[in-house]
Symmetry: C2
């Protein structure tokens, strides 16, 4: 296989794009793809200030590095969940710190245990749906932080594999609430920062290659609470289909983004109140975050 | 496992319904299910005259037997495609003839070779997309026949497995044309008979059990032209998901039937003309059927 651009030895073959690239031209191709995604969904104006939610995994590190190289004013936020088991939080934090130091990206660590004298493990004892609670916690902190620093948007490392698997799950259940909000950009609203997913059209294989090419050192520890069996199954199935029909995943998800209006209801949204503790919009006051973490 | 009704030994376990039944009560359950489907989608008024498209397979034989037992005036139509290889058409025809004789259901055989001096194999030489052409041929004949005898509807044996796999395929491609028409009932229009799929909410396992219970002898020969690899893969995947989450397939397809309006366009349909040969509506005159089979 030869590089599509320079005809040199190929570093990666991308059947979905019917192309192969050497490492240099793959790098350029990858950046061009993200640039197009950002433009297509109006994610960021040039040189915008953006907060990247870092987890220490390859997807969020890639998001931060790409946005930084595309000239955005990137800062990173890591939420230390205080999960000691398997050194999960410690190792993740270290991966983020090393990455940010190397690429001179300012990093803020929000340490749950330092803020509230307890981490996820203490909460896990009381709540059966710990992944949902942890997700809520991270979303709250990231949203609040992004609003506080006045950044244009909060970027997360969700990939095409994540987006297409969620889409599949939501279609299987006809979950209209989530089907209405599956775009890779969620606009800012009063009390909600704009959220963007710059890797939404990039597959695992490309991201893995980019991370390898740039010597990224993502954390290898896995969250001891993680149990996403269903989601992993959906991902595996779509990847199996992708094998036989390269480009299927992207056509599925990108096609959906053109059709998302079909899932939006004309009806009014449920009313929101303002949380008396944090001042952010919520379904009830105090909001779940303040109730759980601030004992409000 | 005990029968949900009589507590006798269970003949079948249906995890999707969280139930098990002895053979007698499974039979009653199965008929009740079809009755509900017919009612839910307004398929047939009581005692209506219905043409069942028989192929010789277990699904179409089951459809004919169930509708007959539910008191409809059933007649069957078999299209002999003239596929000699592996005795496919011969064996299928024989299975239909035996079934109809045993259950006193009037059978009409439409023999392509008798009508047009050639069958599918002769056509197959000229056309690469033979499955599409064969489908068009069967649909044309069945529609014309149903209109001619003035039946209320044409029933086909499509199952939940067929419907959910088609739905999945159409969603993967966001094929809006087919997503708009995926209901188990298509209303009659000028030149188009009403089409119904009474087994649309029944899974393979139930249908297989019903066929076994009633000693149906479906044809075992497989069409030598069949190559539905993709469709089979989708079916297998959904069945794998169903294993882990009983009822998933039905929730997926039934959920879609509640949401189908989202895929219907407000725009006008493309204009239709009347075929000068057969007098039925078509995209152009002569219609594809008359062009191919009647050399029009």
């Amino acid at each position: 296989m030869k590089c599509r651009v320079c005809k040199g030895e190929a570093f990666i073959k991308l059947p979905a794009h019917n192309a192969a690239f050497c490492s240099e031209h793959f790098d350029a191709f990858f950046l061009r793809q993200i640039t197009r995604t950002i433009k297509k969904y109006a994610m960021l104006p040039p040189a915008a200030h953006v907060v990247v939610a870092l987890s220490g995994g390859k997807d969020s590190l890639t998001t931060a590095l790409v946005l930084s190289r595309l000239g955005y004013k990137v800062e990173a936020l890591f939420v230390d969940l205080g999960i000691d088991s398997g050194e999960f939080s410690f190792a993740s934090r270290q991966a983020c710190e090393e990455f940010c130091a190397l690429h001179t990206i300012p990093l803020t660590v929000y340490d749950l245990r330092a803020e509230f004298s307890r981490g996820i493990p203490e909460i896990a004892k009381r709540y059966p749906r710990i992944c949902a609670l942890c997700g809520m916690t991270k979303r709250h902190i990231m949203n609040e932080y992004t609003l506080t620093v006045g950044a244009h948007a909060l970027a997360t490392g969700h990939t095409l594999d994540d987006m297409s698997a969620s889409l599949f799950a939501n279609l299987l259940r006809w979950d209209l609430h989530h089907l209405a909000k599956g775009l890779p950009v969620l606009p800012s609203e009063d009390g909600f920062a704009k959220k963007i997913k710059p890797l939404a059209l990039q597959g695992e294989k490309e991201i893995r290659a980019f991370a390898q090419l740039h010597g990224l050192k993502p954390v290898e520890a896995v969250c001891p609470y993680a149990k996403e069996a269903k989601f992993k199954r959906y991902k595996a199935m779509l990847s199996e289909l992708e094998e036989k029909s390269p480009g299927l995943k992207r056509a599925f998800y990108e096609g959906y983004t053109e059709q998302v209006h079909r899932f939006k209801e004309k009806t009014a949204r449920p009313p929101r109140v303002t949380c008396a503790v944090c001042g952010l919009p919520a379904a009830a006051s105090p909001c779940t975050f303040c109730r759980i973490w601030r004992n409000a």
